[in-house]
């Protein structure tokens, strides 16, 4: 599905280059559930951002569904991203001024989907995640686990084939975390590719593969 070749990412600090990623090459197939692990500062999040096209490497190649991501135009890249990728964050990142319903609906607006279709799509997801009763609440009225459910609902409503999750259970207690991981497992079973960054060995066990980063290099 996607392939990274010899990716370097660095920041210039004074005369020195501070390397975040060094020569990372990686191949992920459709339907995989990959966990990226490693200590703080090992470059996990940066790697995820590059995969999610939110950041660009200084060197290297990235092909996604056969497209050369770093060579195509900004607009095409945005299209590619919009169509295929969903993001889930550790801090949920819901829009505080919008209700649960409206938060989930927002990506559909940017995808230009008509009003009645939007309604049924959001209703389906709310139903599936068992949060119909919460649809008119604002994020600050929800528990962390519920907020993360909404975050995931928002990420999958556009039916992406890749979900990038940055420590999705980092702010949750273990029971809530377990539920979220079960949900990812189900989604993965339905054919969605999932790449998650995690600290937790336990969470990594839900995945089919673990990539371990240390000082910007893939160790395993």
């Amino acid at each position: 599905m996607l392939e990274l070749k010899n990716i370097f990412r660095w920041y210039n600090s004074g005369v020195n280059r501070a390397f975040v990623l060094r020569d990372v090459s990686l191949n992920i197939e459709q339907g995989e559930f990959v966990s990226i692990m490693g200590p703080s500062g090992s470059g996990k999040s940066t790697l995820l951002h590059i995969l999610g096209m939110m950041d660009e490497p200084n060197e290297g190649e990235y092909s996604f569904l056969g497209e050369n991501v770093l060579k195509i135009k900004e607009k095409q890249r945005a299209e590619l991203y919009k169509k295929h990728i969903g993001f889930v964050f550790q801090a949920y990142h819901l829009i505080d001024e919008l209700t649960v319903y409206e938060n989930i609906e927002t990506p559909l607006l940017y995808h230009g989907i008509g009003s009645s279709e939007r309604k049924s799509m959001v209703a389906d997801i709310l139903d599936r995640f068992n949060i119909v009763g919460k649809k008119d609440l604002f994020p600050n009225q929800l528990s962390g686990g519920q907020q993360q459910l909404v975050g995931i609902a928002r990420a999958i409503i556009t039916k992406p084939n890749l979900i990038l999750a940055d420590e999705p259970t980092g702010n949750l207690n273990s029971k809530q975390g377990q539920e979220i991981m079960e949900l990812f497992k189900t989604l993965n079973d339905e054919g969605v590719t999932i790449i998650q960054v995690t600290h937790s060995e336990k969470n990594a066990t839900y995945g089919s593969r673990v990539i371990e980063l240390l000082d910007g290099r893939i160790e395993r």
Binding site: D55, A78, H93, D96, E102, P107, L109
Partner: protein
């Protein structure tokens, strides 16, 4: 999508009530001011447009150039140019002369003073006025008839038809019956010609054939496609030919050597012309400068309000950053985000706009008194007005929204969502904008202070004579014996201290001194009571006196400036030769300079004569005791009605009429101080918002400092210091500019205040106080907050 944006915009507004209030209050004040000025300017430029074929209507102007190069511009001519040019130039379709006049009219036992215009019978063939009764074609044909407006008709005849009725008008010193031959509708308020009463010109007994005489407006209607420039050249040759004899005579008699050039001024330019002013019967003369100044003030107010929006929106962007990041992550592109933020700015502007319309309706009466106008949204309502208001709305929404939209939409989601976001780009701009706001505020405060001080100075200036408890009574021309009787009758009353008759009005003439030297001066005819009544001291010589009977035919008094101008070492006994009337007077005394004119002019040479042959008396200055003024006034009125039954009773307190001369200054004083207050208010609410945000942003820092032992005072001064620095910076910009502008402005006044350091100090202290007051609420609040709380939230 739009709905989603609107929802967010409105929720944001409700959620941040302080900021919504600051922005909406500021913008609606700014917009309301702009709307008022649009109305004002629209009214100004709409003057006289209602006449048919107004583009063919011109006024003949006169430009007099004297041999020493001095140029005088008059919008007026004598009687000759109109008919002479019309007769010789086929390009002129018609002409009309008009001159302001006032008549005494009998209404029952009362005598009323009526404003009027003397006009040629061609008046209605050039100007377009609607008639209530009668017809414009026939109205001014009969010399014993007049045309009046519906208001004047109601004044004299009540609500009944006035057509065919007669008015008893004092003409050539006798009351004569005039038939009302037409009644016009009330003249439009944006008309330079206000019809009260039109009196036909062709009643004049002696035809004035002097070319070198300027006292009336001559308006011509040109044929279509006539070239005014070419006509002006033709005027010159006609004048050279026709006035040749008179010019030779004038040179011999008056040493008149000036050249006169006749020009054509489009009638539409008259209202706002500063060279050739609307006067001598044309009303409402104005100056485009008023529009410019008001427009400038209003635009500044709006810009300052927009600055608040920009500053607060950008300063809050750290909070909005997360939302922006999310929107980008879920697929929003930059264009959509710009669109969203612009939308928010427009929503806010729309609310402010609607509020502004309401504010305009509310404040129009006040504005009208300030600006001497009768504006209303209804009267000027048209497509142009709607579109200019709509443009104003678009301009505001755009100006306020564009910069924040561009900045906010450029945020990278990785930065904003991962808390690595530090927004520093805006801070220099934010500071500059605050400095700009406060520079303006400081400038306006300075302007207000200078205006107030100058006004106070003029009003309280010692005029060189005593104008307290002085009643000026207009009497109409009186013979010497009538004057004497009136004086004696008044002096019967012990409350009346002194009575001094005068010629009334201000007159100028020229005479020769030291043999050949020509001198131009103001002249007034008075008697021996004038100086004592007004308490004007003598410097040399003596006052007029009954003991010197020859005074009335031989003696004059002059003021100090006259002596200076004449270059006399020993003024007493010097001769003044009125060469045009071939009469020589001797100077018997010198009076101390006093302000017989307004303080807008420096004291000019003045000559006082008591020669009754020069002019009869027409005014009495009555000095009364300050006790029981009403009954003294009643007494004066009773005496007046007994002795002057054919004259209207008009009186004025001298000190009040002196004050009235500075009405214009008083108006501007109010307008400038109003704008200053608004500018300061809008700037301060903006500052309040910024202080709130800055305190919020530094909550953690303040908490740590307090834990480490900083006192509340130290925290307050830390938070205040940054903003005070900005105020200091703005003063650096504003003060030199204000100093320059104030000096420029004060140059118009020969008697003026000095700009001194206390003014700058006052403004500075005020500004600092206002700033501290504005910030201190937030600073205190955060300084007194419990640090445990602020640190725990992190």
């Amino acid at each position: 999508m739009l709905q989603n944006y609107l929802k967010i915009a409105i929720r944001n507004l409700l959620h941040n009530k302080v900021f919504s209030f600051i922005n909406i209050a500021g913008l609606s004040i700014g917009l309301a001011c702009c709307m008022l000025i649009v109305l004002y300017t629209k009214d100004e430029i709409s003057y006289d447009r209602f006449h048919k074929n107004v583009n063919q209507i011109y006024r003949i102007t006169s430009t007099e150039t004297s041999p020493d190069g001095k140029v005088d511009k008059y919008g007026i001519t004598g009687m000759m140019p109109g008919p002479t040019f019309k007769a010789q130039l086929p390009e002129i379709e018609n002409f009309v002369r008009l001159q302001g006049e006032s008549y005494n009219i009998k209404k029952g036992n009362e005598i009323l003073v009526q404003d009027a215009l003397k006009v040629d019978s061609s008046f209605f063939s050039i100007f377009t006025f609607d008639f209530v009764e009668g017809s414009p074609k026939t109205a001014l044909k009969d010399p014993q008839s007049v045309v009046i407006s519906e208001e004047v008709a109601e004044k004299y005849f009540g609500k009944v038809s006035a057509l065919g009725k007669t008015l008893s008008i004092n003409y050539d010193d006798t009351f004569q019956p005039f038939t009302v031959a037409g009644v016009t509708k009330k003249s439009p308020q944006n008309s330079s010609i206000k019809i009260d009463l039109l009196m036909p010109f062709h009643r004049e007994k002696n035809h004035d054939d002097q070319w070198i005489n300027f006292y009336l407006n001559t308006i011509v209607k040109l044929k279509p496609f006539a070239n005014p420039k070419a006509l002006e050249a033709k005027f010159a040759s006609i004048y050279a030919k026709e006035a040749k004899g008179q010019l030779i005579e004038a040179k011999e008699k008056w040493n008149f050597q000036s050249t006169i050039q006749y020009g054509l001024q489009p009638f539409l330019d008259v209202h706002l012309s500063t060279d050739f002013r609307a006067a001598n019967g044309l009303k409402d003369e104005s100056d485009p400068m008023y529009s410019y100044v008001l427009m400038g003030l209003a635009v500044f107010l709006l810009v300052i309000a927009c600055i608040n929006f920009v500053n607060l929106t950008v300063a809050r962007s750290v909070k909005r950053g997360k939302e922006i990041g999310i929107r980008k992550v879920v697929g929003g592109d930059r264009k959509q985000l710009i669109f969203q933020f612009m939308g928010e700015s427009f929503v806010l502007s729309l609310i402010a706009f609607l509020l502004a319309i309401f504010l305009v309706e509310l404040t129009l009466p006040i504005f009208n008194t300030l600006a001497n106008k009768a504006l209303s949204l209804k009267y000027l309502f048209d497509f142009q007005l709607i579109s200019s208001y709509f443009l104003l709305f678009l301009f505001t929404g755009f100006l306020a929204g564009i910069y924040p939209s561009l900045v906010l939409s450029s945020f990278s989601p990785v930065d904003t969502l991962y808390g690595r976001f530090k927004f520093s780009k805006g801070s220099f701009l934010q500071k500059s904008l605050v400095v700009f706001q406060f520079s303006l505020a400081a400038f306006m405060m300075m302007a207000t202070l200078v205006l107030y001080t100058q006004f106070d100075f003029m009003v309280k200036q010692d005029l060189g004579y005593d104008d307290k408890n002085m009643v000026d009574v207009s009497t109409g021309r009186m013979t010497l014996s009538e004057t004497h009787t009136f004086k004696q009758e008044l002096l019967q009353n012990p409350s009346i201290e002194k009575v001094a008759p005068r010629q009334s009005g201000s007159w100028r003439t020229i005479a020769k001194v030291n043999g050949k030297q020509e001198i131009s001066f103001a002249i007034d005819v008075v008697d021996e009571d004038y100086l004592p009544t007004l308490k004007i001291p003598m410097v040399q010589g003596r006052n007029f006196s009954q003991d010197f009977p020859s005074d009335t035919s031989q003696s004059v008094l002059v003021n100090e400036t006259f002596v200076k101008e004449a270059g006399w070492k020993n003024p007493i006994g010097q001769r003044v030769n009125f060469f045009s009337s071939n009469k020589t007077y001797q100077v018997v005394g010198v009076v101390k300079d006093y302000h017989f004119n307004t303080l807008h002019e420096s004291i000019k040479p003045q000559l006082l004569t008591c020669d009754p042959k020069r002019s009869s008396f027409a005014q009495l200055s009555v000095k009364i005791k300050p006790t029981d003024i009403p009954s003294t006034l009643k007494f004066i009125e009773k005496t007046f009605k007994k002795l002057r039954p054919t004259q209207p009773y008009i009186y004025d307190f001298k000190d009040q009429s002196n004050q009235k001369q500075y009405e214009k200054e008083a108006k501007w004083k109010q307008i400038i101080s109003f704008s200053a207050i608004l500018i300061i208010f809008i700037s301060c609410i903006g500052l309040f918002g910024l202080a709130t945000l800055s305190a919020e942003k530094r909550t953690k820092e303040i908490g740590i400092r307090k834990v480490l032992g900083a006192s509340a005072l130290a925290i307050v001064s830390m938070l205040t210091k940054d903003f005070l620095k900005l105020v200091l910076a703005s003063v650096v910009f504003a003060f030199p500019l204000a100093w320059w502008a104030a000096n420029k402005f004060l140059e118009n006044y020969p008697y003026r205040i000095q700009i001194s350091t206390w003014m700058f100090a006052t403004v500075f202290v005020l500004l600092v106080l206002i700033t501290i007051l504005t910030i201190s609420y937030q600073a205190l609040k955060s300084a007194l907050a419990n640090p445990v709380k602020s640190l725990r939230t992190e």
